[in-house]
Symmetry: C2
Subunit: 263 residues, 2 copies
């Protein structure tokens, strides 16, 4: 246990606000009691824990054995390194996990495929929603927001422990999906109301960018075009549903229809 | 048309980042091409428009007649006054609307009642979702986040033009609802799966605070406890659905069941 937050360490921690640093070091930051506790309790390897001693003391010794270094600090020191406006009482640095796409898993569950998702809050909330609905994989195009961005992690509320988020070329991914004749449900304004569909238990749910939707190069892989009907009596001031709202409603509809809820 | 952004004006605009200033002046800020265009096109009275001349020129003269003052600026001047990190090319100041609760409207539609909602992104997204599902009123407890907070307005994507957000004592409101024997659906972890419910076309959807849920003083008004089932095979790292996700799924279920989608 050490008691010093050196200048170099502060510099390194702060650098992890940038994707480039996260990519180069293979590490990212988690902040806050809830999420750090969950990582500790899940036995995840933690490179550095920076916390107030009274926070760390609440854990049994064996829970802390996967932590390489613990630095005791007071609250005002956490303020120096926090990436958040209102710093939490604990911050940790962990290694980025590396997942391979498990095709057996993909072909036996629902999977969300996100094209160029930009807003970190949206990605974080979609991860949290996926966890709730038992969806274990999310596939993102490489130009999507980084899952290890602090805002994504905060919005995911610990669900990044449960859901594997992959970054890969979506054309290649969809080619393989289509070779398997696996259904691809695409959210599209010219689709059919999702409520009327006989949805399959397993499949791909494809969601597009916040402003531009699904690009033509991916649209052609859609086997079922779905939409969530608008119930407003006017369209003034109504553009579309937020992409994470759409994801939640679509996931809910899939589970409702294929997990024994018939009404 | 004027060409000067005086120090006093800059000070006033910046002050509107605070709820106290918004309450005292009765005014709030909207930023960005999309939302300001929608306010102009809806004929909303605009006290001050600060924009690049080439932005304002895209509107026909009569569209601009409800604007009291227009100040032409360049982009770097907008940076001085924007409440956002990345300023938009236009900013406007408008009067806060004052709505009275229309009980006839409440008793003939769905209405969302939000207790102590804290996160501006959540409220904004719920407003956007309500607009999509034809819900015209949202009732918030007085300690909820202010609807004229910049982050709420950004997340609502212009839907605050469509949905009336009221702040009122929820006990008084619910007393009146209960006198009318109007159904109150409360989201609660000990509820019945919403998929199995015979939902009514009109009613109250009551949602609680992000961390503490619905308080006991309001729980007693619930006539139907509903929940969105969790489909995960483990609960590790899964706490709950985000409140705006829950709102979206619940609104979707109500409309699906009561607007002619039977499947």
């Amino acid at each position: 246990m050490s008691f010093m937050l050196s200048k170099n360490k502060i510099k390194f921690i702060k650098s992890l606000d940038n994707k480039k640093s996260r990519d180069e070091s293979g590490q990212f930051i988690i902040e806050g009691n809830k999420i750090v506790s969950e990582f500790i309790n899940a036995g995840w390897n933690i490179n550095l824990l920076v916390a107030q001693p009274r926070w760390t003391e609440t854990f049994p010794e064996r829970a802390l054995q996967n932590i390489e270094e613990i630095i005791d600090v007071e609250n005002n020191e956490l303020r120096k390194i926090s990436l958040l406006k209102t710093p939490h009482n604990v911050l940790a640095i962990v290694n980025k996990p590396e997942f391979l796409i498990n095709w057996n898993e993909i072909l036996n569950n629902l999977t969300l495929v996100l094209e160029t998702i930009q807003d970190p809050g949206n990605l974080g909330t979609i991860i949290r929603t996926a966890a709730w609905f038992g969806i274990n994989n999310i596939i993102c195009s490489p130009d999507s927001v980084d899952v290890f961005n602090q805002k994504v992690i905060q919005a995911s509320m610990g669900a990044i422990l449960r859901v594997k988020v992959h970054y890969t070329n979506l054309i290649d991914f969809m080619n393989r999906i289509s070779e398997n004749n696996f259904p691809v449900y695409g959210a599209s304004l010219d689709g059919m109301p999702i409520y009327n569909y006989d949805l399959s238990a397993n499949g791909i749910i494809l969601l597009g960018n916040e402003s531009s939707g699904i690009s033509p190069s991916l649209k052609k892989y859609i086997t079922q075009k779905i939409k969530i009907p608008c119930f407003s009596d006017t369209t003034e001031g109504i553009d579309s549903l937020n992409v994470s709202m759409a994801a939640a409603i679509i996931c809910s509809e899939f589970r409702r229809k294929t997990r024994g809820y018939s009404k």
